[in-house]
């Protein structure tokens, strides 16, 4: 697999109506595909991995996606100088 493959899968994740995730990065190493980036929910993580699996059905997917689901109020206030 190649840079072309990485780009093709990243474009699929950006363009697919199930995902539209622009911040996911793909790196193919031999038959493994590393999936990196942040998504907002478990559902969005599953959708990204589905698109990757469809694009590279023979690859072993290594999920390094992180959930950006920390939506608590902030613990402090910053004064702008």
């Amino acid at each position: 697999m190649s840079e072309h493959t990485n780009q093709r899968v990243e474009q699929a994740i950006a363009n697919d109506a199930r995902t539209h995730e622009l911040g996911v990065r793909i790196e193919c190493i031999d038959r493994r595909v590393l999936v990196r980036g942040q998504v907002a929910s478990r559902e969005r993580r599953a959708a990204v991995l589905t698109v990757v699996r469809e694009q590279l059905p023979e690859a072993e997917i290594v999920d390094h996606l992180r959930l950006s689901d920390a939506t608590q109020p902030p613990s402090r206030t910053e004064t702008i100088e």
């Binding site: 939506t71 902030p74 702008i80």
Partner: protein, 253 residues
């Protein structure tokens, strides 16, 4: 000489990318805003796919905020070609949607002016599109130029306000500086921001600027002219919002 003690308190977040799977995630924190902040700014990408259902989910979720809410749209909100309908739906929910406009909010601590525009790509020194060549390239570049013009129109509106705002803030989706893009690959900076936005902010005498869009960027930066800038993309701030205190300027009578 008139002066108001203290600071205006601005809560801000961007890139909430609302859809059904995120319903209920922000409302509990937003319900705590009253007493903590005077206003909530949302720096675009209110929705994930730019649909009206997602816009309705955003409006319902952010109705929990018990302070005035001011937003700009982001590129995700344009994806389905429904940006005008999304803006109208959100306005009907009592939320100010800015695109080349300014809004004034009178708070107990002073008068806040917010100039807002989505902004667009273009780039920065050494990594900047030029208004040259193919029709498509010129259209891309011109849209970036025009987006900065819209932000300037927002500040022009604030300039005409009487009395003047005590604090002036720029609200955009795209970044006005590279300083808050650190962490993003430099190769994609031209798609994350626009140096003309920074020029407008500096020329306008803004006190503060917030933007989103750069999920892997840095929270804190400044424009070339020194205006403080914060990237409040939710994956950057990792909370429901940030709160910034802006000293209220002392105005000669």
């Amino acid at each position: 000489m008139t002066s108001r003690d203290g600071c205006l308190r601005i809560a801000a977040v961007g890139d909430v990318h609302m859809a059904d799977d995120l319903r209920g995630r922000y409302a509990p924190a937003l319900a705590e805003l009253s007493g903590q902040a005077d206003v909530l700014l949302v720096a675009g990408d209110l929705t994930q796919h730019g649909t009206l259902d997602e816009a309705a989910a955003f409006a319902e979720e952010f109705a929990a905020a018990n302070v005035p809410v001011v937003v700009v749209l982001g590129n995700h909100d344009h994806h389905s070609g429904l940006d005008e309908e999304i803006a109208e739906l959100i306005r009907r929910a009592g939320i100010a949607v800015l695109e080349g406009e300014g809004v004034l909010l009178d708070t107990p601590r002073g008068r806040l002016g917010v100039a807002g525009a989505k902004g667009f790509c273009l780039g920065f020194t050494g990594r900047c599109a030029a208004n040259f060549g193919e029709t498509q390239m010129k259209a891309f570049t011109q849209h970036g130029i025009d987006s900065a013009g819209l932000l300037r129109h927002g500040f022009d509106a604030l300039d005409r306000a009487e009395p003047a705002a005590d604090v002036r803030v720029a609200l955009t989706h795209f970044a006005p500086t590279t300083s808050t893009l650190r962490g993003e690959p430099a190769e994609i900076w031209p798609f994350l921001g626009n140096h003309l936005l920074g020029e407008v902010i500096d020329a306008s005498g803004a006190d503060f600027a917030v933007h989103g869009h750069a999920h892997a960027g840095s929270e804190r930066g400044r424009t070339e002219g020194g205006t403080p800038v914060r990237n409040v993309a939710q994956p950057v701030i990792r909370s429901a919002y940030r709160i910034y205190e802006i000293p209220v300027r002392v105005t000669a009578a």
